[in-house]
Subunit: 113 residues, 2 copies
Amino acid sequence: MIVDRFDERPEEQVTNYGSTGTTIRWLINRDNGARTFAMRRFVVQPGGEIPLHGHEEDHEIYILSGEGIAFTSNKEVPIKADMFLYVPPNEEHGYRNTGETPLVFICVIPLLD
Amino acid sequence: MIVDRFDERPEEQVTNYGSTGTTIRWLINRDNGARTFAMRRFVVQPGGEIPLHGHEEDHEIYILSGEGIAFTSNKEVPIKADMFLYVPPNEEHGYRNTGETPLVFICVIPLLD
């Protein structure tokens, strides 16, 4: 069993998809022995965004704190602490922090191939 | 994309393994289209416990609030909010709330078969 604090994992800027004001920490990954899915922790600063994008991996997300909007190609949904999201494979999606505090969430993805 | 609050999912008492003072909500499961892993939210009341047990599914856990102890057959580790755990397949494990507030955590498991 591995037990650790989130801030023992390195924090990296998210730059893909034109993301702004967003960092990621990979908490549990193949390095820790995970075989089928990985757990990451994102922080999106006020005004920051992960723009609309899509990929084969689905997402299971739990919002830890803050508020914002999750969007697909045809809808926007308000999100805040204690909400969860399921994003199916290949559905385009993005997130924006519309609040005044960091938007923090856990995002679990499958480890494909 | 599915977006919902955790308390829109039914809360069920956990009775397996002799668990006490513990409830579960299945947030994301096959019903929502998930194919490879499921997200659940546990609440363990003060003094409550999920006793030592094992199974093929590994666990990726993030502690939302509270404090307690995670244990295996040969060690105990303190846990609290903002810690994460990886429990490998078939490693016996359990949790106990040793604090005065609910111990709340997200636990993601693979959907086997």
